[in-house]
């Protein structure tokens, strides 16, 4: 790979941005440069990263899913409610986890049916299903805020892999989830790059008609994508509930902005066909770095959403400009070629 191309990659730019931003925050408030804050950024990124991996797959395939926060909270909240109503072993961690993922896949299957089955545009389809899911949750599952979640989930919130206590520095805690989440991230990266399913996702994003002519069953790929995203959202939803140590059906609403912004900043093309797991990881880290530390820079926290919105637009603008530059560069030659 040549140097120029490496520099143009969004991953390189993101690493650069993260380093610069960290340095600025560090200069303004030296306490930021500690193991504790690195661990904190990780902790605050866990749930978003899982959502983001799902959204990455959808965006690469040329679609968009805005129902994932709803699926996440639906699955997580419902799993907790089921645990309590059915009086299942409250110490279990596996039961709510599996339950939440299954519910997520089921809701994803509804998206799959609407999108792959009826061929409805993905934005509208998931806007519609998100409304349906939220309504169903509030009508059939519950509207109450659950402050005491099952013990297993509650304890998991403080299951730390590393704990560094020192009298001079703040408490540094690294959650045990670092291990499964790292594995999941590597797994999704492998899935996208090295499997037929993953390459079909890229093919679909590159052009669904061309993909179909190659013999790829585009509907089946789409169905799998939305069910996978549902499952990931269910997983993220239950972890969110566990880490928050409470379950409210009103949580996570609006979090799609952060996640989609992270994926787009990570270099995934909103038109489909391009995007990497590494870029998405960096995008999530950048968003959380900014959201968590605006206050250290003297910016009021009420500006958080606006800041993320600005970042999303910057990401998309950069994409648009690079694309039009490429087109202009190519235009001269294709014009020639078309006449020829």
């Amino acid at each position: 790979m040549n140097f120029k191309r490496l520099f143009r990659r969004s991953e390189t730019i993101l690493i650069f941005a993260i380093i610069v931003l960290s340095s600025i925050i560090g200069i303004k408030s030296p306490s930021f440069l500690s193991i504790a804050s690195i661990f904190d950024i990780f902790r605050s990124s866990i749930v978003q990263l899982i959502f983001a991996l799902g959204v990455l797959i959808v965006i690469v395939s040329g679609g968009i899913d805005i129902s994932f926060p709803t699926i996440g909270i639906f699955s997580g909240y419902t799993a907790v409610v089921l645990m309590q109503r059915l009086e299942l072993n409250p110490n279990s961690l596996i039961v709510p986890l599996v339950a939440s993922v299954i519910i997520g896949v089921a809701l994803g299957a509804v998206n799959a049916l609407v999108i792959a089955g009826f061929g409805i545009p993905t934005l509208i389809a998931t806007l519609g299903t998100a409304g349906i899911f939220r309504g169903c949750m509030l009508s059939f599952v519950g509207i109450t805020f659950i402050s005491e979640i099952p013990v297993g989930l509650d304890n998991f919130a403080t299951a730390d892999l590393i704990r560094i206590e020192s009298p001079t520095a703040p408490l540094a805690r690294l959650h045990i989830l670092i291990i499964p989440i790292t594995l999941l991230t590597i797994g999704i990266s492998f899935l996208l790059r090295r499997t037929m399913f993953g390459r079909s996702v890229y093919a679909l994003g590159g052009g669904s008609e061309s993909a179909r002519r190659l013999g790829i069953s585009t509907r089946r790929v789409q169905a799998k994508i939305y069910m996978l995203v549902g499952g990931l959202s269910g997983f993220a939803g239950i972890l969110f509930v566990s880490l928050q140590r409470k379950a409210s059906p009103y949580d996570l609403a609006g979090s799609e902005l952060d996640v989609i912004a992270a994926v787009v900043l990570g270099g995934a093309s909103i038109m489909g066909g391009y995007g990497t797991v590494f870029g998405t990881v960096l995008g999530v880290l950048l968003i959380n770095l900014i959201k968590g530390n605006l206050i250290l820079l003297g910016v009021s926290s009420s500006w958080q959403r606006a800041a993320v919105g600005v970042l999303l637009l910057i990401g998309i603008t950069v994409q648009a400009i690079t694309e039009s530059k490429k087109v202009r560069k190519r235009r001269v030659s294709t014009n020639e070629e078309v006449v020829a």
């Binding site: 037929m196 052009g207 069953s217 001269v332 070629e337 006449v339 020829a340």
Partner: protein, 500 residues
């Protein structure tokens, strides 16, 4: 043993019928191709060529009829079955995935046919390399397809199609976007495939190419086979007659040019290095000036510079003797210069909008009434005038442009610009992708307009077309004006010789 089998193997269709809505696209079409033969399907747009290809590749199911592939007989194929049975189609748009690399584009179908779950880089690379070696094409397989030229895309598409065990290969208008050199190379590849006993179906309406490469031919017209047999049994005229159902003459139709003192356009020492440099020429009223050159010669940029779409470093452009600064399309329009881009479908038309709206789009301001609002009557009258003037074939001007055939769409584009009444019309590849019948009519429209005093600058590398219509032809080579041919000097051989 195997090759002996293949030589006698026949591939084809019997009595295929296919209707869309009420319209019959194919009414009982049969054809047969044997391995190691190059068979041509010729026909005008709308003759049923594309439908037939789509049936063979599994995109459409036939209403009735049989598909015969050697011993096996099918009443219809799915895309997967088609690939599995060795039927491959190279579509006009190549169907390549621009976001993936050359290697992946070539290797994906192989992985699909193997039902692989996993993919590794080495396999991908090797499959692609082998496929490219088979057609003796050398390209960096790690490049994204978005970054390679159209000619390379075509060869990549061929490598992909022929990599699997291909028995029958369809090529839909494969030469449309290629220069002569590239076409020669393509034909070499086709001959290699023929030697590998592939049954090749070459779909085209360019008669000289068909005659050069094909062994047998089937001519379709309105969904029926109107001629069928050995290539040698047909003369050029017989083929075009069969395609059109009438005689077609490729004679010169350029009108006599009257003496005129003044020039509409005068270009003096125009340069934008390194694209083009020191270009000077003039165009008189009613004159049709041709510009041709190879890929990358700068001919398109030159044309666009005159329309203000390409920057000019030095030099002068004068309209009616007055020097003008053409730094934008609107400045060019104001000076009376119009431009029709080569990719008429994406750049020249609002495809989903009605024919009428497209016709009046450019001159929209001239249809205002006293209130400054659009006058429906004026719009309609103007639209109908152009539809009848330019013989646009439609029964309703409110239908979308997509309902028209390629030639008629091109006419809508032309009418749109004529409505502005430009002094000089720049046409870039005016008949690319247009069938012979429509091509002839488009050239006649140009002639008629020229006779009424409009000047034309025609950029094209269709030499016979330039011969038919132009008063003079300029040859651009490496950005320089290489030579100018006047009416007396113009012969096909001389032009080709100067080009290469």
């Amino acid at each position: 043993m195997r090759s002996n089998d293949l030589i006698t193997t026949e591939y084809g269709v019997e009595n295929i019928v296919k209707s869309f809505g009420g319209a019959k696209a194919l009414s009982g079409v049969s054809l047969s191709v044997s391995g190691g033969q190059i068979h041509c399907i010729a026909g005008e747009n709308g003759s049923g060529k594309s439908t037939l290809i789509k049936i063979m590749s599994g995109v459409h199911a036939p209403d009735s009829g049989l598909i015969r592939l050697g011993e096996k007989v099918f009443s219809g194929l799915s895309p997967r079955e088609a690939v599995h049975e060795g039927v491959q189609v190279i579509f006009q748009d190549f169907s390549l995935l621009a976001n993936l690399t050359v290697a992946e584009n070539i290797a994906l179908p192989t992985f699909i046919s193997r039902d692989s779950r996993f993919i590794n880089k080495k396999d991908t690379f090797n499959i692609a390399k082998t496929a490219l070696e088979l057609i003796e094409f050398d390209i960096d397989v790690n490049l994204p397809v978005a970054e390679i030229s159209i000619a390379s895309k075509q060869l990549v598409a061929i490598a992909r199609a022929t990599n699997l065990d291909v028995k029958m290969l369809f090529m839909d208008e494969p030469t449309t976007a290629l220069t002569r050199k590239e076409i020669a190379r393509l034909f070499k590849v086709i001959e290699q495939l023929k030697a590998r006993n592939v049954a090749i179906v070459f779909v085209s309406h360019k008669i000289d190419e068909i005659q050069e490469i094909c062994n047998t031919i089937t001519v379709l017209r309105n969904g029926e086979v109107v001629a069928d047999g050995k290539m040698g049994d047909f003369t050029r005229n017989q083929i075009s007659q069969a395609m059109l159902g009438q005689d077609l003459l490729e004679t010169r139709i350029a009108p006599k040019l009257g003496k005129s003192g003044s020039n509409i356009l005068e270009v003096k020492k125009l340069s934008t290095r390194p694209t083009f440099s020191d270009i000077s020429f003039t165009i008189a009223p009613g004159e049709i000036l041709g510009i041709t050159g190879l890929l990358g010669s700068g001919r398109t940029e030159l044309a666009e510079a005159i329309f203000g779409r390409y920057p000019v470093d030095t030099g002068e452009i004068a309209v009616d003797g007055k020097s003008v600064a053409l730094n934008s399309s609107s400045a060019a329009l104001a000076a009376g210069i119009g431009y029709v881009p080569p990719d008429r479908l994406t750049q020249g038309l609002f495809l989903e909008q009605s024919i009428l709206r497209n016709l009046v789009a450019v001159g929209i301001n001239s249809y205002r009434n006293a209130w400054g609002l659009l006058s429906k009557k004026r719009v309609k009258d103007a639209g109908n005038k152009w539809i009848s003037d330019l013989h646009i074939k439609t029964d309703n001007s409110l239908n979308p442009v997509t309902s028209l055939s390629g030639g008629n769409q091109q006419r809508v584009v032309l009418a749109k610009w004529f409505a502005l009444d430009p002094r000089l019309m720049i046409l870039n590849g005016p008949t690319v992708g247009v069938d012979i019948g429509s091509k002839r009519e488009i050239l006649e429209i140009i002639r008629d307009r020229a006779q009424s005093g409009m000047a034309f600058l025609v950029v094209s590398d269709d030499i016979p077309e330039l011969m038919q219509i132009c008063h003079r032809v300029l040859i651009i080579k490496n950005g320089k004006l290489e030579r100018e041919f006047n009416e007396a000097q113009m012969t096909e051989d001389a032009l080709y010789k100067e080009l290469s």
